[in-house]
Symmetry: C2
Subunit: 374 residues, 2 copies
C-alpha cells in the first residue's frame, strides 16, 4: 500500500571522507555498494522507498556533477524528479526547494520525507511500518522524525529526547511521541547516561512533514531561505530558461544550514515535532568499521572483503577489512585487524581502531598536495 500524497526526497550529498579512498569527491559513497549487497547505497535507498510512494514520487537533490552517475544507477528516475544543485547549500535548501516544487505540482498538503542517500537499513518491513506512522503523524501537522533505537552509547550521532505519547491524539500512529528536544553528539559518558534513561534515540536525519508545515516554519525561522526556494519553485516547471534565471538569482545566496537547525529544533521548542521509533537496524556507514559490520562473514578468520574475494590471499591474518578494488592480488601475511583499501590510484592501510581518523588522513593528503586523489 503506497501513500498517494507522500513524496520521498533523497538528498544525495556528502563525500564520505572516512571511506576514502573508496569514496571520492567525484564519486561519493552513495554511488558504491559498500554493504556488498549487490546494490549501491543510493539504489538501496530508492528501492526501499518504492513500496511507500512508488518510483514516480521519489526525488533526488544532488550536486550537478553527480546527476549523470545517479541516472546511470537509477534508470527509472525521471528528469523531473531531479534537483541538480550548482553549489552545495546544505539540507534545508535541498529539502525545502524540492518540497516547494512538490507543493506546486501536487498541492501544499502533500507530505514530503527526506531520506539520506547513504544510509543502510536492514529490516525493510520495520522501516515501512515506521514511515507509515510518520506519514499519518505528518498529515496531522507534525514535523515528524524517526528515532533509531540506540544499540550502543555512540558518540557519532545526535540524539532525540522523546517526550509524551501522541497515541491518543493520532490513533493511527500509536507509537508517535512528542520530541522534547534534539541534542548534539554527546561524549561517551553522556551517551551512556542517555541510554540508561530509555528516552533517547539516534537522530538519523529522517524528517517527514507536510510541505506547507515545512515551508511555514521556514518562513518564520529562515525567511531568506523561504523566499529563495519559493521563488525558484515558482520558476522550476516553467522551462529551462526561467529555471536557470531563478537559480542564478537565488540559489548561490542561500544560507547553508541543516534542516535540523533551521526547522526541527525551533519547531520542537514549540512542541511541533513528533518522533516515531525505528527499530529496523540502521547505519550511516560512516567509516570502514561500519562497512565491516555490514559485510557478510565468509571465512573463519573474520576477514571482511569488499570486492573480489578471489584477489585476496591471506596467511596468519584475521579481522581485517579488505577492499580489493584494483584487480591486483592482495597478499596479507601475519596482519590482524587492518583496513586495506586498494583502488586503482590510491591505497590506504590503517588499523581498524583508526577508522574514524581516516578523515585526518584525507585532510593531511589535501594539505600535502595530494588533492588530485581525494
Amino acid at each position: 500500500m503506497t501513500f498517494e500524497d507522500f513524496h520521498a526526497i533523497i538528498p544525495a550529498g556528502g563525500v564520505g571522507t572516512r571511506l576514502w579512498p573508496l569514496s571520492r569527491k567525484a564519486r561519493p559513497k552513495f554511488l558504491f555498494d559498500v554493504a556488498g549487497s549487490g546494490r549501491t547505497l543510493i539504489q538501496s535507498t530508492f528501492d526501499r522507498l518504492i513500496p511507500l510512494c512508488g518510483a514516480a514520487n521519489i526525488y533526488i537533490s544532488t550536486g550537478e556533477q553527480h546527476v549523470a552517475p545517479i541516472c546511470e544507477q537509477l534508470p527509472q528516475l525521471d528528469s523531473s524528479a531531479i534537483f541538480p544543485e550548482p553549489s552545495p547549500r546544505d539540507s534545508t535548501a535541498a529539502i525545502a526547494l524540492a518540497a516547494a516544487v512538490i507543493a506546486r505540482r501536487f498541492g501544499e498538503k502533500s507530505v514530503v520525507g527526506s531520506f539520506a542517500a547513504d544510509h543502510v537499513i536492514r529490516n525493510k518491513t520495520a522501516f515501512e511500518q515506521s514511515v507509515h506512522q510518520a506519514i499519518v503523524t505528518a498529515r496531522a501537522g507534525y514535523v515528524t522524525t524517526i528515532g533509531i533505537a540506540a544499540s550502543r552509547p555512540s558518540t557519532a550521532f545526535g540524539y532525540i529526547h522523546e517526550g509524551r505519547s501522541l497515541a491518543s491524539e493520532i490513533p493511527d500512529a500509536p507509537s508517535a511521541h512528542l520530541v522534547e528536544a534534539f541534542v548534539e553528539k554527546p561524549d561517551a559518558q553522556t551517551a551512556q547516561a542517555y541510554l540508561e534513561t530509555g528516552e533517547y534515540r539516534w537522530n538519523a536525519g529522517m524528517f517527514i512533514m507536510r510541505a506547507d508545515v515545512l515551508l511555514k516554519s521556514l518562513e518564520q525561522t529562515k525567511p531568506g531561505i523561504y523566499e529563495a526556494v519559493r521563488s525558484i519553485a515558482d520558476a522550476w516547471d516553467k522551462g529551462k530558461d526561467q529555471r536557470e534565471d531563478a537559480m542564478n538569482r537565488w540559489w548561490h545566496g542561500i544560507e547553508k544550514i541543516a534542516l535540523d537547525y533551521s526547522v526541527a529544533e525551533p519547531v520542537a521548542a514549540q512542541s511541533g515535532v513528533a518522533v516515531i521509533p525505528g527499530g529496523f537496524g540502521w547505519d550511516d556507514v560512516g567509516d570502514f568499521n561500519s562497512v565491516a559490520a555490514l559485510l557478510p562473514s565468509s571465512n573463519r578468520q573474520n576477514i571482511k572483503v569488499l570486492g573480489d574475494a578471489d584477489s585476496l590471499v591471506y596467511l596468519d591474518s584475521a579481522g581485517d577489512v579488505v577492499a580489493p578494488q584494483s584487480g591486483r592480488t592482495i597478499a596479507l601475511l601475519g596482519v590482524d585487524d587492518l583496513i586495506v583499501i586498494d583502488t586503482p590510484d590510491a591505497l590506504l592501510i590503517a588499523p581498524r581502531a583508526r577508522s574514524q581518523q581516516v578523515k585526518q588522513m584525507v585532510a593531511h593528503l589535501s594539505e600535502s598536495g595530494h588533492g588530485d586523489i581525494l
Copy 2:
C-alpha cells in the same frame, strides 16, 4: 691495477622469493635496484668487478630468459661473455662451464672467480683488496674463498671455519688462512658459539681459483659434470650449431649441485682451500629487512622507501618499509614496522618481523592458484 689472468663469473640465478612481489620468476631480484643506489644489483656487481679484471673479462651465467634484460642493463657486455642456460643446473655447472671455456680461450692457468649477481657490498676498496689477495692465493693453487666478517650470529648463512695462516707460504697474501671446514647454517646458539671463538666467517659463496684447479678437482669429485662441461666447452666457440648440439647432448643431464659441495668441501678436507677475510660490509639482500637496512634514512619516522617517495603519505606511522612501485598513492595511517610492497599487479602487506616468512606466502600463493603473479 687489473689482473690480466683474472676472469670474473657472475652466476645470475635465484628468484629472491622472500622479496616477492618485487622480485618475480621472470624478473629476479638481481634485475632490481633494491638498495636504492641508482644501479641494479647485477649492475653494481659488474661495476665493482671492472677495477679487478676489466669489463671484457666479466662473464655472466644465467637462464636463457634473463639474457635480454641483463644485456639491456649491461650494454657493455659482449655476447661471448654470456653463458645462457636452457635449464637451471646449479652453481657447479654454471661456474665450471664458464671456467672450461675461459681455460680454452686464455689457458688452463687462468684464474676464475665467482661472484653472485644479487649481493650488496658497501666498501669497494676493501672488496678489491680481498680479491687481490684471493687471486694471488688462487695462483698458488688454492681454491680460495672470501670469508665475510660475521657482524652478528646469523642463522641465515653458512660459516667458514678458519685454520692456520698461509702468510709464510704466500707472502703476497698476508691475510690468507687455510680453511678448516665449511659448516652449514647453524642454529642461534651454535652461531653465537662460532662468533665467540673468532674463527668463523660467513660463507658468501665467492670462490676464486685457477681453472685447472677447479676442473681437476671436479674430475675427481664429480667426473660426470667434468666430462659434460669439458665437452660443451670444446664446442662452445665452434659456431652456433656445434654449441647447441653439445648443450642438447650434455647440459640437461648435469647433476644439480652447488660448488660448495662439489668442490669446496671435498678440497677443504684435503687442505686445498684458503680463505681471505672480507671486512667490506656484505649482504645477500635476502629479505625486506635486508632491503630496509640498505636504504637510506630520509625521514625522522625511519620509514624506508624503495621507489617514488612522493607517492607515500603517512600519519602516525614509523619504521615501515614501503615500496611504491605502481604509481599509486600509498597512505599509511597509524601503522608501524610494516612491509608494504606495492606493484602494478600484486600488493604484499606483512609485519617486518615476518620478512623471512614471505617465502611461505609465495608457497601459499602457488598452492592457491596464484602462480601467475609469482
